[in-house]
Amino acid sequence: MITLTHYLVLSAILFCIGLVGVLRRKNLLMLFFSTEILLNAVNVGFAAISKYYMDLTGQMFAFFIIAIAASEVAVGLGLLIIWYKRVGSIDLDTMQSMNG
């Protein structure tokens, strides 16, 4: 039997994977992937809890997150391509024109 706990554990594991990806990866493209994993970890949580409480609000919110993630990726990828054309690299460590 798969209970709510399982879903939440899955969500937490996914979130941790995404977080580690965000922290460790240096490639901007990989960063986008990690962000997607983070968002979808949250989506899993939302959908599971929504089902558990029989409340559609959570699922609705998950849809919103999917829409926002899509638009974010669209804008982000566009910027990424322009950046690559200009600099020739999408390594995070090369992007430090401002530092204290």
Partner: protein, 629 residues
């Protein structure tokens, strides 16, 4: 009637504000004309109010608006026109109106012409608030207002450099202005304490309520109130030991000396005592102290005037001495006589000062009377008017000073204070002597000024015209004595003389005798070329010329140690403790910022790392401190 009250009170303010619009502009004649016209509006309103109050025995009392209304405190902005305040209003506006006209000529070539009229009218407004207020708080506002205007006007030529005390005893206008202001501040602290005591013990600052309750208070409290209020009066009226500022205040333009430092502001202290007569008549001991101090200052100041060589300083010491006379009368309970002398003194003293202004103008601002002489030939009218003023000051019949000064001497004799009477009597002789010493040295004798290359000339006709009414008042004001007494004793207590007949005549005779002998001695001595120069080596002469060395003692014993103390407080306490504490806090923030700025490396993955750390901390806090476990 209220209309006239507001006209009298506010037209100087309007004049001042109008003139201040042109304060930084070059000289505009109409500014002075408008200010003077408004002063005359105020003068005529005051005279109208005087006639009204005198004819109907009514008191006009208006409440303009509530001023301070917090908790139990209720201090309205109220004004009262009763016999005492209306006499003050008429005196103040008369002198100031004519001084305004005189200033049109005196300040003609000064670049600060507009500014001058703004200050002068502001002074008159403050003085009107002082005398017309119906409570102690309003009086205090006016009191501080006149102090401020006095500071502005003494330091009117603030650009002059400081010089050594040996060359100019007042050092510089701005120095003198600060001295006057600080001296008054010290005394005003006493006055403020007095006001607090009044409020604490009576629960009000309104004159009528305070004086109603004053008889129910403990006599110690009343004595304390009387002493503290008198300290304030000592500062404003330049009584010993606060007297040094008045002579130094002569650095201001001469019309200012005439208006503020002779006729009006310095008499505010006497006015305060007169106004609070129900308080002071409860405590005759304090009254006696006031009278003693007054008599002391009368002689003390007159003695300094005997030898001084500075035209304006001589008249300033004479003002001090006359203020002493007023305090004797007020201290001995003869309040109406003090007010009477205040009024007559205002007329003849401002006349003397304006005359001195004419002489200064003629002599290119030279003040040493030993460089003048024989000026009567070129300055006939000034000479005549100054002689009138001096005769009035010396107390010669039928001039105004005779009536008021004789009454004060009679009061001292009548109340069996023979020592006070003797001091005042000696003072009267000195007054006569130094007045005519000044007249002789300035207007008669050899024309010493020729040696110094001066070309004296008579003042403008309208300056003389402005002095003429004051001269007339200096002659005739004494004859109003009986109607004046009748009028003000409606409010003030009467004074009953015990001596009559031959004794009274004898007293007048003795006083007139010493005044006349002082005059004759001065004329005799100075028509023969003055005193032997050997006198200048005399210790007494040096003592008097250096003002008993009091300014130097003050500087050595008070100013310098205080400056040292301030320096210690600055270097040790302020810099080392307070500044160090503040700097320490600033340094911690600066260093932490310096150390912490590596966080802002610009590296996205590091920044994300910090963000995650922050997130974890916040999550931990939520878990630890959340109310639901």
């Amino acid at each position: 009637m209220e209309k006239y009250l507001y006209l009298a009170l506010f037209s100087p303010l309007v004049g001042s504000l109008f003139a201040s619009l042109f304060g930084a502009k070059p000289k505009k004649l109409f500014v002075g004309l408008v200010a003077s016209t408004l002063l005359f509006v105020s003068l005529f309103s005051s005279i109208y109010l005087l006639c009204y109050v005198a004819s109907s025995d009514n008191i006009i009392h208006v409440k303009l608006f509530d001023w301070i209304k917090v908790g139990g405190i209720n201090i309205p902005f109220g004004f009262i026109v009763d016999p005492v305040s209306v006499i003050m209003m008429v005196t103040v506006t008369t002198v100031s109106a004519f001084v305004h006209v005189y200033s049109l000529g005196y300040m003609k070539h000064d670049e600060g012409f507009n500014r001058f009229f703004s200050y002068l009218s502001a002074f008159v407004f403050s003085m009107m608030v002082l005398v017309m207020s119906d409570n102690f708080a309003g009086l205090f506002i006016g009191w501080e207002g006149v102090g401020l205007c006095s500071w502005l006007l003494i330091g009117f030529w603030y650009k002059k450099e400081d010089v050594a005390r040996e060359i100019n005893p007042s050092i510089s206008p701005s120095w003198a202005a600060n001295e006057a202001f600080i001296m008054n501040r010290i005394a005003d602290l006493g006055m403020l304490i007095g006001l607090f005591l009044i409020y604490w013990n009576t629960g009000s600052l309104q004159y009528d309520k305070v004086f109603e309750n004053i008889s129910t208070l403990n006599i110690t409290i009343v004595t304390l109130i009387g002493i503290f209020l008198f300290i304030g009066a000592m500062g404003k009226s330049a009584q010993f030991p606060f007297h040094t500022w008045l002579a130094d205040a002569m650095e201001g333009p001469t019309p200012v000396s005439a208006l503020i430092h002779a006729a009006t502001m310095v008499t505010a202290g006497v006015f305060l005592i007169i106004r609070s007569y129900p308080l002071y008549s409860q405590i005759p001991d304090v009254g006696f102290f006031i009278a003693t101090l007054g008599a002391f200052v009368a002689v003390f100041a007159a003695s300094m005037a005997l030898v001084n060589q500075d035209l304006k300083r001589i008249i300033a010491y004479s003002t001090l001495s006359q203020l002493g006379y007023m305090f004797v009368a007020a201290g001995l309970g003869a309040y109406w006589i003090a007010l009477f002398h205040l009024m007559t003194h205002a007329f003849f003293k401002s006349l003397l000062f304006l005359g001195a202004g004419n002489v200064m103008h003629a002599m290119d601002d030279e003040l040493n009377i030993f460089k003048m002489g024989g000026l009567r030939k070129t300055m006939k009218w000034t000479a005549i008017m100054m002689i009138i003023g001096s005769l009035a000051l010396a107390g010669i019949y039928p001039f105004a000073g005779f009536f008021s000064k004789d009454k004060i001497l009679a009061v001292a004799f009548d109340s069996n204070h023979y020592i006070l009477w003797f001091m005042l009597w000696v003072g009267a002789g000195m007054t006569a002597f130094y007045s005519f010493r000044l007249i002789m040295l300035v207007f008669f004798g050899d024309e010493r000024y020729k040696k110094y290359g001066f070309h004296p000339h008579e003042a403008y006709w309208y300056m003389l015209l402005a002095m003429a009414p004051l001269a007339i008042l200096a002659i005739i004001a004494g004859f109003f004595e009986e109607s004046f007494e009748h009028f003000v004793t409606y409010l003030l207590p009467e004074y009953h003389f015990n001596i009559e007949g031959i004794k009274e005549v004898g007293l007048i005779g003795i006083t007139t005798l010493i005044a006349l002998s002082g005059i004759v001695f001065a004329i005799y001595k100075y028509s023969k070329g003055g005193f032997n120069p050997k006198w200048k080596e005399n210790f007494l002469y040096k003592l008097l010329l250096n003002q008993y060395y009091i300014p130097i003692i003050y500087e050595k014993c008070i100013t310098k140690p205080y400056a040292k103390l301030s320096k210690i407080a600055w270097k040790e306490f302020d810099v080392r403790i307070i500044d160090a504490t503040v700097d320490f806090i600033a340094k911690i923030i600066y260093i932490s910022g310096f150390k912490g700025r590596v966080v802002q490396s610009g590296n996205l993955s590091k920044m994300l790392g910090w963000m995650v750390i922050g997130l974890v901390i916040l999550l931990l806090l939520v878990v630890l401190y959340s109310p639901v476990r």
